[in-house]
């Protein structure tokens, strides 16, 4: 023991405080590579003092919350104690419970056993095939349909949280006329009257405005309507729909097509502000295919991202170029010019001349990375001809989209078995735009307007005064899920069914069509958009089921239809609807003029560029009334319940603003006031404005954030130049960001803990290290393995199953779906903004976001953290009532009913993953929404006030699998990944809902990138065991010797050596520093050396022998 104490390595820990005083940090070799916020990086001591407390001191809150004074409280306590006495003396028995069996039980239904039904949902034209869990007839949980190529079994946050919308008490429940409750009969009567009048003139004056509804039946009905009333017109407006993409493709000669990316075939990906891992395109499919190439053992792809805001796509990128949104197109232009000048691709002479001229000017303006990137990216694209993808995002103009298509074509990236695939546009009805509608309406050409879905009064461009337009239309009907801003101004409102209540069909980008099958009859008196349209179109039957069947009978014929229909419903996809990849020939002729002229101006000084972004949570506002999404921290800013004007720290400094400062943003005379929030990584002079907040309606959405639509005009839908920003003299707005919640004390040994918590290496360096020194992960540790001593006899539980998890940080895209999937599965309540500010959010999984690199242009790293199920869990030792205890299978259990709420466990948890029910959150949630109870998972206890909760490794799913295995199999739970199948697309899918003898927790099942893997670590063949054998597997906070069962696989970035950023922190030391021989001697001389574990890992023992 004496020897240990004398050991400098040991001393460094025990006397760390002294060390930091006597020996200041060596800035050269010990920079903190990872930081959470600017305050964190710069060691700014202006954190609110309360953040340093484990729990915010807020005793007063009880009075605020219950309106009960201290005296009343004591009185009540006395009374309840007395009452408890009465009850416990046996005067009152337990309440009588009733069992209400079915009178006639439906076929295949076993009470208490969930059934899964295949259905589909969509946002704009992005369709997602789903399997939805039905618990005794109540839809409770959404999973992805493994058979559907847009899902492959995974989901996104919107699909996961959509089940909460179904039970939203704010949804439209009855029709209204002039804001007064009306009956459906009245609606149909009025509509019939209108149609009769209009019918005499061939439908002149009838306009239908809808969201993008990629439903073949819907479009067939539109055709029927057009045939019956030839002069009626159809318009489409959807913020999730991007006409510039199709216009760009049309410009390039690929009209009536849409693009789908097969990213598993791409070696090099260039994303031009295309947030394909966030909200753009078929993001779930894209994430899955991208992640398939982010596994280290396979050939890893390389992603370049050029963007103005900081998206999760940018965070996942190997290289990220920060330019203003308006400059992204210039980058592409310069890239194409460079490739053509170097004769790698052939470009029409006129276009080349224009591009070259522009590129010169742009390069001169930008210089730096912009100019440096072009030859490097060009070289990489050329080296991977036919295996690269250039993807252009919604923020870019049609010219850029067209040029992107041209480049893909020139590089041979388009076609079957290529990364870029074109499919024909399926939905045939010709649609006018919102502006066309406005023009006709102001000319008095619209007498009857039927709005199917959408909320144009709220989300129409600012230069379209939709409210005023509605005044000019004598008959307007809003048929939508919510009775919202638009419904308040139309003459009629009719409530729409939820997608889980209505029949339909949805066609995905590649043609794959799924029947949208309802799981429940409409909860309120609602009809679907198809049913409404069928009435307008004059169909005989207005039943969704009949309409969808009639359409498909017409399409595939009567023969054997019934069998086919049943197969479609079972599979969730209509066999044979997936289309063949379309050949396109890209033409440059129309591009010549478009790319003439000088480059887009760069915003500087007092001129700002606004960037309107669809929100990562509420999208365009359509999910604003969903409390799960509102409380979900944004993956990058970590903001909950609000949006803010996001700007870079440098821009903020120039404006003299800090987090929460109110500013007035004005552009072309339109103004909006909102607070600002620092978002490192955003281009200078850019202000990112998330859309979808500041609603005037909705119990949840009202009061959340700020409406940014008033700044967005039809000409500047995604980015606008020439805005000015004025600091307002108002008290700072309090934004609830979770980025500093659950902080760790640090540095503990003079080194930043974060560098050991999040580990990142370049691919080449990783492979080299792995070869030379497979145990190199040891070098990251703050405490060498042989120095770790236990206070007690270590448990030795290795029998039967031993559960464990790995999270692959290379694959994780930070989509947040794990957090919401967990919330839906585990009955996790929401707490509201005021309590998030106090650090009381209840999410079992949090997504930690670290920045790395310079403050102005950092990279970001995302790390999901839930309970890691330590083998020697510190929480268990401190529980006075043994409410949290270890299972023999290595799980850290909580018996909620045993918990008395001391919170010692949360206090002692180094990962800060335990959550406390400060109030009866679940009961509060139920009181606010009585329907919410229908969503609850009956297999998980609904927690009450005063108990701790945290990730249970989905113990209910583990138990189910074990029970199934014991009752029906050999008693042994199998590894789910052993049953994974590689489908025709070359994608591995796991049908978790069908594998009754295996466990896939909710987070892993929802994860589009399969970053989360759970299984039995006692089974050497299991996927999780395989992952844990990888050289890059590491345990967070290993120095505490608590042996977490959840380990992480280090993030590997596939750097291009030509533009690789300088290595930082430990990675720099490992790859550049090599062995530092001086250190061993140094350590021997100075008892307080902090660089104790820097001598090569694996050689510790040798190096130490001198002591």
């Amino acid at each position: 023991m004496k020897k240990d104490l004398q050991d400098p390595k040991y001393a460094a820990v025990s006397e760390s405080a002294e060390v930091s005083v006597s020996e200041p940090q060596d800035a050269q070799t010990e920079p903190q590579a990872f930081w959470r916020s600017i305050e964190d990086k710069e060691g700014n001591p202006t954190f609110p003092a309360s953040w340093d407390y484990e729990y915010t001191p807020d005793a007063q809150e009880i009075a605020e919350y219950t309106n009960v004074s201290r005296r009343q409280f004591l009185g009540l306590m006395g009374a309840s104690a007395a009452l408890a006495g009465v009850v416990s003396t046996g005067c009152l028995r337990k309440p009588v419970e009733r069992i209400l069996p079915y009178a006639k039980r439906p076929e295949e239904l076993i009470p208490g056993k969930p059934l899964f039904f295949a259905t589909a949902t969509h946002i704009g034209n992005a369709v997602l095939g789903l399997l939805v869990e039905s618990q005794d007839g109540r839809p409770t949980k959404v999973e992805g349909n493994p058979e559907h190529p847009m899902s492959y079994g995974a989901t996104d946050v919107w699909a996961q949280s959509s089940v909460l919308d179904l039970y939203d008490p704010d949804r439209g429940q009855f029709p209204t006329h002039a804001q007064k409750q009306a009956t459906w009969d009245a609606v149909f009567q009025a509509l019939k009257g209108q149609l009769e009048t209009l019918g005499k003139k061939g439908g002149e004056g009838l306009a239908i405005l809808s969201e993008a509804i990629p439903s073949p039946t819907f479009h067939d009905l539109l055709a029927t309507l057009k045939a019956r009333l030839p002069k009626s017109r159809y318009f489409c407006y959807d913020t999730a729909d991007t006409p510039q993409t199709s216009e760009g493709l049309a410009m390039a000669g690929a009209a009536e097509t849409q693009v789908s990316y097969a990213l598993n075939k791409a070696d090099v990906i260039l994303s031009l502000e295309y947030d394909f891992l966030g909200h753009e395109g078929d993001s779930v499919r894209q994430a899955r295919l991208f992640a398939a190439r982010r596994k280290i053992d396979k050939q890893m792809c390389r992603l370049y991202a050029v963007e103005g805001t900081f998206t999760t796509t940018g965070a996942a990128a190997d290289h990220r170029l920060r330019v203003q949104s308006s400059q992204v197109g210039e980058f592409l232009g310069a890239l194409v010019a460079h490739l053509a000048e170097q004769k790698h691709i052939a470009v029409e002479a006129g276009l080349l001349a224009n591009l070259s001229k522009r590129a010169e000017a742009a390069k001169k303006t930008h210089g730096g990375d912009f100019a440096k990137w072009i030859p490097v990216v060009a070289e990489d694209l050329v080296a991977h001809k036919g295996r690269a993808a250039v993807m252009v995002g919604e923020s870019q103009s049609k010219h850029v989209h067209a040029l992107g298509a041209l480049l893909n074509d020139a590089l041979g990236n388009i076609g079957q078995d290529k990364p870029v695939q074109f499919f024909s546009k399926g939905n045939t009805a010709a649609a006018g735009s919102l502006l066309d509608l406005v023009a006709s309406a102001f000319k008095g050409q619209v007498q009857t307007l039927i709005i199917l879905g959408g909320n144009p009064v709220y989300n129409a461009p600012a230069d379209v005064d939709f409210a005023k337009l509605l005044q000019r239309i004598p008959f307007s009907l809003h048929h939508s899920f919510y009775s919202d801003e638009t419904s308040a101004l139309t003459t009629w409102y009719a409530p729409m069914s939820h997608y889980l209540e209505a029949w339909g069909d949805l066609r995905a980008t590649d043609g794959t069509t799924a029947i949208r099958q309802p799981l429940i009859a409409p909860l309120f008196d609602t009809i679907s958009e198809i049913e409404m349209l069928s009435f307008v179109a004059g169909e005989a039957s207005n039943k969704g089921h009949d309409l969808v069947r009639a359409y498909w009978k017409k399409t595939v014929g009567d023969v054997g239809f019934e069998g086919k229909w049943r197969a479609w419903l079972h599979d969730g996809v209509i066999d044979g609807t997936r289309e063949k990849v379309k050949g396109v020939s890209v033409k440059a002729s129309k591009l010549v003029d478009a790319w003439g002229g000088s480059p887009e101006a760069v915003s500087k000084g007092n001129s700002f560029e606004l960037r309107f972004v669809l929100d990562n949570k509420v999208h365009d506002g359509r999910f604003a009334n969903n409390a799960w999404l509102q409380e979900l921290p944004d993956p990058m800013t970590k903001l909950t319940w609000d949006n803010a004007a996001l700007l870079s720290p440098k821009t903020a400094a120039a404006l003299g603003v800090s987090n929460g400062t109110w500013v007035e943003i004005s552009i072309q005379g339109r103004k909006a006031e909102m607070p600002v929030f620092f978002a490192p990584g955003i281009a200078e002079n850019t202000i990112a404005l998330p859309l979808g907040y500041g609603r005037a309606w909705g119990r949840v959405s009202k009061g959340c954030g700020f409406n940014t639509y008033p700044l967005r005009s039809s000409l500047t839908m995604y980015h606008a130049k020439g805005a000015s920003v004025k600091k307002l003299d108002k008290e700072n707005y309090e934004l609830a960001s979770t980025q500093e919640h659950g902080r760790l004390e640090e540095p503990i040994t003079g080194r930043s803990r974060k560098d050991a918590i999040f580990r990142e290496l370049p691919l080449a360096g990783y492979l080299e290290l792995k070869e030379k020194n497979p145990g190199f992960m040891e070098d990251y540790e703050l405490m060498p393995k042989n120095k770790i001593k236990s206070l007690w006899k270590e448990p030795n539980e290795r029998g039967g199953h031993q559960w464990g998890m790995t999270i692959d940080l290379t694959s994780c895209t930070g989509c947040n779906v794990c957090t919401v999937a967990c919330q839906a599965e585990n009955n996790i309540p929401v707490v509201g903004k005021a309590r998030v500010l106090k650090g009381r959010e209840m999410h079992w999984i949090r997504l930690d976001r670290y920045y790395t690199g310079p403050v102005e242009n950092p990279e970001a790293a995302l790390q999901p953290v839930a309970c890691v199920h330590c083998e020697t869990a510190p929480c268990e030792n401190v529980c006075p009532v043994a409410a949290t205890a270890h299972s023999p299978e290595g799980m850290n259990d909580i018996a909620y009913n045993r918990c008395i709420g001391t919170r010692y466990c949360a206090n002692n948890c180094p990962y800060k993953v335990r959550r406390f029910n400060y109030f009866n959150f679940n009961k509060e949630n139920d009181e606010q929404n009585a329907l919410l109870q229908m969503q609850r998972n009956p297999d998980v206890t609904v927690r009450f006030r005063g108990v701790i909760e945290k990730c249970s490794y989905c113990v209910q799913r583990v138990s189910e699998a074990k029970i199934y295995a014991k009752a029906n199999g050999d008693g042994y739970v199998k590894d789910a990944y052993a049953f994974a199948k590689v489908n025709a697309d070359g994608v591995e899918v796991v049908n978790a809902t069908e594998l009754k003898e295996s466990v896939v927790p909710a987070c892993a099942q929802a994860c589009p990138s399969q970053a989360i893997v759970f299984g039995d670590i006692n089974n050497p063949q299991s996927r999780v065991s395989q992952h844990k054998k990888e050289a890059r597997d590491y345990a967070v906070l290993r120095e505490l010797n608590i042996r977490p069962r959840t380990t992480y696989l280090a993030q590997i970035r596939n750097r291009n050596p030509k533009i690789a950023p300088k290595l930082q922190g430990k990675a720099a030391e490992l790859l550049e520093g090599g062995v530092k021989p001086a250190k061993a001697g140094h350590a021997a001389h100075h008892g307080h050396d902090k660089h104790h574990d820097k001598s090569k890992g694996g050689q510790h023992d040798k190096g130490k022998s001198g002591h």
């Binding site: 046996g90 028995r93 069996p101 079915y102 009470p111 023999p888 259990d893 249970s952 014991k966 050999d970």
Partner: protein, 243 residues
């Protein structure tokens, strides 16, 4: 002067204290002992909306439990049968009996019969019938001689301690799988002769085999069991029943 308080009263406070202490101890013991489910819950026999007699159906007519409680082998719940099951016989048998009025009504209207729950587990305990049946725990072991009950009553305390008693030493409550629903098995000569660990029909399951191998290798497992007697491996940790 006469002594008002005789000498023995000096000991009064002490005696009082003693009585209070003894009384308190007794009261504590009383609550702990007599307020347990064994005393408060056992024997609970609520009146049901339909006077269904298990004695008649399961006892005299000898119907198997699973004829009505058909989900017992597949699900956590041994579901109370739908009215349709009752009517399967009672359209022919006693079709006009006034006692069955509610059953006929339920069948016609589709409204459930509001049976009163007898065996009430707290909501935080997740009991699963299927795995117990698969392990060979007899119905009568927990529910008692249902075949002798005119009105069903709770036969066992269903307390956590009672559950654990069996989970810790399950062997004596196990039977061959084809005897699970047999009501009079317990106490029979068959039962006395039966040793589950020697029953060839119980295939040695993999988890138990693995368990045993590891224990042979010297691994200590918190759930200490004699490896030679392990036939089933019921959980004894919190999450076995609480999720």
């Amino acid at each position: 002067m006469a002594v008002i308080f005789p000498r023995w009263t000096n000991r009064l406070p002490l005696m009082l204290l003693g009585f209070v202490a003894a009384g308190g101890a007794f009261a504590t013991f009383g609550v702990w002992y007599w307020f347990s489910p064994e005393f408060t819950d056992v024997g609970y026999a609520p009146v049901q909306p339909v006077a269904f007699s298990h004695k008649l159906h399961a006892g005299e007519l000898g119907m198997d439990c699973r004829y009505c409680h058909s989900t017992v082998e597949k699900a956590a719940h041994a579901a109370v049968p739908p009215t349709a099951v009752c009517m399967g016989c009672h359209t022919q048998v006693l079709p006009k009996s006034p006692k069955l009025e509610l059953v006929r009504q339920s069948y016609q209207t589709g409204k459930p019969i509001p049976w009163v729950r007898v065996h009430m587990l707290p909501d935080y305990s997740f009991f699963d019938h299927s795995v117990h049946v698969a392990a060979g725990v007899g119905c009568a072991s927990c529910h008692g001689r249902i075949d002798k009950m005119t009105r069903v009553y709770q036969h066992q305390p269903l307390s956590m301690g009672w559950c654990l008693d069996c989970h810790r030493d399950p062997n004596k409550h196990l039977r061959p799988s084809n005897k699970v629903t047999q009501m009079d098995w317990e106490g029979s000569t068959q039962q006395v002769a039966y040793n589950p660990s020697k029953d060839p029909s119980r295939a040695r399951r993999k988890d138990i085999a693995a368990h045993r191998d590891l224990m042979k290798k010297g691994h200590t497992i918190r759930v200490a069991k004699n490896p030679h007697d392990v036939v089933v491996n019921p959980p004894e940790h919190c999450s076995g029943c609480h999720r």
